[in-house]
Symmetry: D2
Subunit: 293 residues, 4 copies
């Protein structure tokens, strides 16, 4: 396929690379053009504009937030105005349900196919092509997107004909991860102050009832306080919880856990944690319990 | 070994049976004597009093709460007064850290060994001898208890020389399970009201990042609202959260999630749920969102 | 003064009437024109458009939310485009801090004066000219608005030269009222279930430490469950808490009480309370405690 | 009347002094005898034991917590065993509903009158005889206690024939005060970070809708961070919230605000605030928002 790819952050660059590796003809675009260079080395064409990335059968977007995606799609020279009729937009970003609903209408009006396909997985999973893809859109759009999903992910979960449902699933999933971080933060603060070795306790948890990677990974991130690269930045974590709460407010669903987690992010950001990985909220329960940080 | 076993509820009866099966000479006692009959059939001796169950090298207790355990240990004709010097008390009940600390001192003063060994697992795991045993106590007490642990559980986790630490681990573990119930209750309410099939969503969760039995089991218990037997009664769930909060208060550790879960239990019990399984709190988020119950 | 008045709801109509009573020449506009008739009877001129209401020295707006105000100010034929240079816009609506900041810039660019002047008080206080006015804006704008404040309110509190500060004060004040509703809802549920007469208890509270009107009024609204007219609609209450939370998120200030109150509103709206007065959230604590509703 | 008075802390000493001033014959007892000296100077007799303080028609207790009161009443040589039949015990301490219920039964069995009469007011109000007395007990007991109430308080509120109801009212009232502290802490953090002068804002609040002393006093205590004497110690605040929560749990009433406040106390005590006035929890919202403390 002839595919444009817009948004070459950690995740996007890895996903674009896998599309190239799968044999697709990929044109890449990033606001900061330097990010394109490593992909050009492995066979991508660098586009000078969004429009140039929209000349193929499909364009994939992987952007930071609603504003970035809306700009690229609805802005002048954007996807809506430049993508061919019948061509496909695969939106992989974690954005609001409301924006996804708006794009659904706009693409339909423009005669373009649109599938929302947010992904689960950290950058290493993206590099390995091991992402979980959550897809929603019309049957035609999903069929057209199949080869793309096959290249970037190891499994695709189809939820609905309405693209925004995939965004809701993604937001709820990220929210669920934050509940694990909060819960681990609380129990580790409790047993730690009670004189129990946290590492040993985490091993116990993950070798009995809580044997999911999410407990192992985030438990270790909470316990091990040494400096580390940011996998997923705290401000993005706040954004995702905010979007989950906004979707829930629209649907009239109270989410007290999401409130709690949102407050943790605010406290983290208000007290010097802007630059940390989002797992850092898991150390706040210990801080409230008087642990040295 | 010659072992007494006190407390023949669903869990205790299954554990006693496994001790018999392992070749131990078991004397059983229950406040309601009828519970002893099925065990006598497979080789147990029925004791007419706590004291009669304390004539061997060890006595195991599996009781509902602090009051029951304190009565059996400290009451007249109780374990403290009747168990031989050097003999062992294995306390498997989920009780407070404070009571366990008190019994530690009392058994030491009486020259008896004491190990706290609460277990993780529902009645079917107890029947299969597949419990996880969390043990704490002096090296001597733990060594003496080894054959008992081997008979009732599939794995033993040793945390400390201080018995009460095992109780803290047990309480924190049950608390962590309730956080999963709450979190699942919230996300299922959200996606359900958003028009997504809950069952399909749960399958997605458990086949990706949340692949632990605790998510699968409690997710299904929340989604499937058909009547069912009570695995673990809601009032006991409230008790365990209360004990976790009491331990945390003593240690000065705020646990906002435990507060939230405790309120869920209070709402459940105040609105007709006294007789339900504790997983029923996971349907309250949906109720607050206007779901028909 | 020659004053335009836009937005003739319960509050706005009463405020416009007091401007007329004070001798000002008032031109009124409302999206639904019928609302203008009673004011025309007492001397107002009915405008056929926003623009017609912008021909004097000042225009006052009292609208339901951000969308309504933004439409009237920034829309075609709106205040920005039609109000004379040097003339004044007094914005009394409860709107977001963000919108008020945007209007500050826009009015400055258009050479117009702008003061944010949200008011505290229910419709009866508006009718009596007894509102509390919270004003912020440049000294020139505030001076120009003095006669308007004098006509609609009994006291004006000036907070800042930046208009948006008045909006923050208003939002925080409404939030504080909701904390009183929640707190009263909880204690009344507690003492009521404890067998104490709620009315007698409220009298005790308000004749001792809690002798503020807000306790008396909302306490009675919670206790007396008979049907009544809506003073301030629940969906508007939710809107105000949402705006307070949005302002707080921007400032990185966690507000756990606002989260709790927001969830109460969501539960109320999800379970049939769309048409109720916002004080109805104060009965949800009793509902969670099993009170018949 | 011939009255014994047990418990000469800040509050108790002031109350005993007012009984003396009113002409009663007062015998005082305190665990630390030195506290009795200033009262002996103004006419009291110092008792060497609880029993000696129980020789009159009535004994008043004003003690720190359940343990202290239970010891004085139920201990050897305690009130139950030494007070004459038909004589009166006036219990002014803030204790649990459960203990008050137990004492109701015990005093009835001993043929003694018992009235629970906790008081509202800080030490200066106690000194001025300006306390609010919340009384519950049999008509006979309340009648007998009238002269005592008249001497220590400026107004008495009678709630029930069951003494424990007065304790519930007291606990709920203290809980309500903490909700004001929390709410003020949150709004002051919000407006303060928003660039508004906190003092001016508090003046606005208390001169409009929130004109109760509790807002003025606690608002000032939160804003003014200079060192000050402890009016009511934080650990006692925690105790009272815990007792309110225990009473509410017994009645199956969720109190999310009480949970929040309890966590504030735990955080305060875990991070160096053991020795502070309970109003210090009102600075924690600002701390979470990144305010220098």
């Amino acid at each position: 396929m002839k595919i444009g790819f817009i948004g070459l952050g950690n995740m996007g660059a890895a996903m674009a690379r896998n599309l190239i590796k799968a044999g697709h003809e990929v044109t890449v675009f990033n606001r900061t053009p330097a990010k394109a260079a490593p992909l050009v080395e492995v066979g991508a064409v660098a586009a000078a504009s969004v429009a140039e990335a929209c000349k193929g059968e499909a364009v994939v977007t992987m952007l930071a937030d609603d504003a970035a995606l809306a700009g690229v799609v609805e802005g002048e020279g954007g996807i809506l105005g430049t993508l061919a009729k019948g061509a496909l937009h695969v939106s992989c970003s974690t954005v609001s349900v409301a924006l996804s609903e708006r794009l659904t209408g706009a693409h339909a009006a423009a005669g373009q196919l649109y599938v929302a396909a947010p992904v689960f997985g950290r950058p290493d999973a993206a590099a390995a092509g091991d992402l979980f893809v959550v897809a929603a859109g019309s049957a035609a759009a999903r069929a057209a997107a199949e080869p793309i999903f096959a290249a970037i992910g190891k499994q695709t979960f189809v939820f609905s004909d309405e693209p925004a449902k995939a965004n809701l699933v993604k937001l709820s999933g990220n929210f669920l991860i934050t509940t694990v971080i909060e819960a681990l933060g609380e129990v580790l603060a409790l047993v730690g102050k009670g004189g129990i070795d946290k590492k040993q306790y985490l091993d116990f948890l993950t070798s009995t009832l809580f044997g999911a990677p999410v407990y192992r990974n985030y438990g270790n991130l909470i316990i091990d306080t040494s400096p580390r690269p940011v996998g997923f930045a705290a401000p993005l974590g706040l954004k995702d919880v905010r979007l989950a709460l906004a979707a829930a407010e629209e649907l009239r669903v109270p989410l007290p856990l999401a409130n709690l987690v949102r407050d943790r992010f605010l406290t983290l950001l208000a007290t010097g944690g802007e630059g940390l990985d989002w797992s850092a909220i898991g150390r706040l329960p210990g801080k409230d319990a008087g642990e040295a940080q």
